[in-house]
């Protein structure tokens, strides 16, 4: 309990922890960049069922010759299934002809430059508007500037740290990860609203008691959410490695939800307490 007490009484310097991590994440994104999935940068992606064992380079050569494009990358061969990435839009008929005799098509995705640039614009707008709408809702709920801003900052920090994690671990930004970021906004705001309501609006107990109680609930929520996302990730990796949509969502959420623990209980709680003591 003493660690918790010490932690609760030294809240001001602790606000810096999530802030610094957020800044590091920003720096990572700026220097390292985030790889884009083919749905945002264009290109093709195929999973084929191999009819006979073939080496990665042989498969690559076959395809390069068949479709007349030398930017072919065989990313994995496992369980007689191969994943192939090709830059640029690929004619699906040419591709099927190229692999005929070697394998059959399990899944194929090809995105042309027009479609990908359109999707990229949509991604920016969707994220911006989602964030805006969320912020408006938070303001309506609390009708109080500082606590609302604290919630919004925590959500922003979560998203930036999640993006930084994507940059660090090479998780591509694609349509699926946008879904994950939006889910993250939902989860992140959940704990923030819980915290703000309990600490700001309740009267019983001291601020510390209310904060500790809220923290107990919040940690249980985080454990359940992170636990289920880790499970989802593992199941997808083991059983359905090609359901990239789900493993991407899970990995982005694992990073984001972990960041949310820091953002909520160090930053949001810190700002809230500062605000309440200042007001007194």
């Amino acid at each position: 309990m003493s660690i918790l007490e010490r932690f609760l009484s030294n809240y001001k310097p602790l606000i810096a922890v999530p802030v610094i991590i957020t800044l590091i994440a920003l720096a990572l994104i700026a220097t390292h960049g985030i790889t884009e999935n083919i749905d945002l940068k264009g290109g093709s992606n195929a999973v084929i069922q191999l009819e006979k064992p073939i080496s990665s380079s042989d498969l690559q050569n076959t395809i390069v010759k068949g479709i007349n494009n030398n930017q072919v990358d065989v990313t994995s061969i496992a369980n007689n299934q191969a994943t192939i990435q090709i830059s640029g839009a690929t004619n699906v008929s040419a591709f099927v002809n190229a692999i005929s005799g070697t394998g059959t098509l399990l899944s194929f995705q090809s995105v042309g430059p027009l479609l990908s640039s359109q999707a990229l614009t949509q991604v920016y707008y969707a994220l911006a508007f989602a964030f805006l709408f969320m912020s408006i809702t938070v303001f309506i709920v609390f009708r109080n500037v500082v606590p609302s801003v604290a919630v919004i900052l925590a959500a922003l920090s979560d998203i930036i740290i999640a993006l930084g994690g994507m940059s660090l671990f090479g998780i591509p930004l694609g349509v699926a990860s946008v879904g994950a970021l939006l889910m993250l906004i939902g989860y992140s705001v959940d704990t923030d609203i819980l915290l703000t309501t309990r600490v700001l609006k309740r009267r019983e107990g001291t601020i510390n008691e209310r904060a500790t109680n809220a923290m107990k609930t919040g940690f249980t929520m985080a454990a359940a959410a992170i636990g289920s996302m880790v499970t989802l990730y593992l199941v997808v990796i083991i059983f359905i490695p090609y359901a990239q949509t789900l493993s991407l969502i899970a990995s982005v959420l694992i990073i984001g939800l972990t960041a949310d623990i820091l953002a909520t209980w160090l930053m949001n709680l810190g700002i809230l307490r500062w605000y309440m003591e200042d007001r007194r």
């Binding site: 609203i193 609930t217 359940a224």
Partner: protein, 436 residues
């Protein structure tokens, strides 16, 4: 205690949940759940038109494409505009290359002798079934009498010269002009023929050309901008994987709940609520024939996940209320309890017990109400965050629009959760704590 349980079952919220569950299960078992293309296997092809077109032209494009797929024998197909410059073709269970060849070409047919155009696609009246002999294929068709006359005039005296037949400016066939056609006598029976590398290839080519000639050409140049295709095999693997993941996630959540509250009986309503939400979301999807695809599954995960969050909030509020109320009862005398004191004198001890219970229940109600403030607020923010995707999905259906199922199931799931299942959960926790 028995009375408590009967009251619980008679509660209107519980009855509503049971009714909705029955309706959902009935709908799911009667009309089933339509799976999206990425789960049942199929191809989605986005076709880009060279320039934006008006509604009339768009309708022509859609009709021609529908006709082509129909002639080709493709069933379970959906062709719809996406904005005013692209078309989305969704086909179940067909290999993408078959569809791509068919819809990704304008289908402009013309034939020339020397530099003179002698025949156009619009001159074609009917197309007969193709024939294949060895590696050679041919597609016979008839042309209008006017076109036949023009052709006869143009061909007169040019026996032996090649007739170049083009499909989308690609030479598909260039037979030599038969002396019988170069005598100026009009004939409405023409055929286009060619040779392919194999009998199978000849078959495919002939079928394609027959289909395209028969359906006519598109009024604009088109190109394939995106292809997304999943085989039925992979699709069913996705479904199984998602089921395994769902069950495993529920086990993990149960473990967390068990660890935190040390009350095994709490695990049952949390699992029950999550499963009810799943059934109700699928029920809604089944009733309105919404496709459940991979994105929709992600949305269901999001909805159920926030549901578990909400249940933890409710549990904590109620448990905390219970604890505090027990401690503070002697000192806190509300107006209500004073009124109760006055009555107490007449009716004795059993009444006193009842008052205590009812006072405690009022405490829960207050607690639950404050839990629901948090729940409504977070539901509102989640729905607000999903609106942009829902908008993109409805307006274009491409790009980020593939996430429309995600936004849909999240919003539906959250609404079901806050209005139907979570109130019942709160009622249950109240029962549980009340009887303890």
């Amino acid at each position: 205690m028995r009375q408590d349980i009967i009251d619980f079952i008679k509660d209107y919220r519980v009855i509503i949940l049971i009714v909705f569950l029955v309706v959902s299960v009935a709908s799911i078992s009667l009309s089933g759940i339509t799976e999206g293309l990425d789960l049942k296997g199929g191809s989605s092809i986005q076709i880009e038109l060279q320039q934006p077109v008006n509604t009339t032209t768009m309708n022509t494009v859609i009709n021609v494409l529908n006709k082509r797929l129909d002639v080709f024998g493709v069933k379970d197909v959906q062709v719809r505009p996406s904005g005013n410059q692209s078309v989305l073709v969704e086909v179940a269970g067909v290999q993408p290359q078959d569809v791509a060849n068919l819809v990704g070409t304008p289908g402009k047919f013309d034939a020339t002798i020397g530099n003179q155009t002698v025949l156009l696609g619009s001159d074609i009246v009917t197309v007969q079934a193709y024939t294949v002999t060895g590696n050679t294929w041919s597609v016979p068709f008839t042309i209008t009498t006017t076109a036949a006359n023009n052709f006869a005039q143009a061909a007169k005296g040019k026996a032996g010269q090649p007739v170049n037949m083009y499909l989308d400016n690609n030479l598909v066939s260039s037979p030599q002009l038969d002396p019988g056609l170069a005598n100026g006598v009009a004939s409405t029976d023409v055929e286009v023929s060619g040779t392919a590398a194999s009998a199978v290839a000849a078959q495919t080519q002939a079928k394609n050309i027959q289909t395209i000639l028969q359906s006519g050409s598109l009024p604009v140049e088109v190109s394939i901008e995106g292809v997304s295709s999943v085989s039925a095999q992979l699709g069913s693997e996705f479904v199984n994987g998602a089921l395994i993941a769902g069950i495993a996630a529920l086990i993990v959540i149960s473990a967390v709940i068990l660890y935190r509250y040390r009350t095994p009986i709490l695990v049952i309503p949390i699992i029950f609520t999550s499963l009810s939400e799943l059934v109700l979301i699928l029920g809604v999807a089944s009733i309105i024939h919404w496709n459940i695809d991979l994105a929709a599954i992600a949305g269901i995960i999001a909805a159920i996940g926030t549901g578990v969050d909400d249940q933890i909030i409710i549990t904590d509020e109620v448990l905390k209320g219970n604890r505090e109320f027990n401690v503070s009862t002697p000192t806190q005398k509300s107006r209500r309890s004073k009124r109760a004191d006055k009555k107490k004198g007449k009716k004795g001890k059993s009444e006193d017990k009842k008052v205590k219970v009812s006072r405690r229940i009022t405490g829960f109600r207050l607690r639950i109400r404050s839990a629901f403030f948090i729940i409504y607020a977070s539901a509102a923010t989640l729905i607000a965050a999903m609106l942009p995707i829902a908008y993109v999905g409805y307006s274009t259906g491409s790009g980020l629009g593939v996430l429309v199922g995600f936004a849909f199931t999240t919003i539906v799931g959250v609404l079901i959760g806050i209005f139907i299942t979570r109130p019942v959960y709160a009622k249950f926790v109240e029962l549980l704590v009340g009887t303890n």
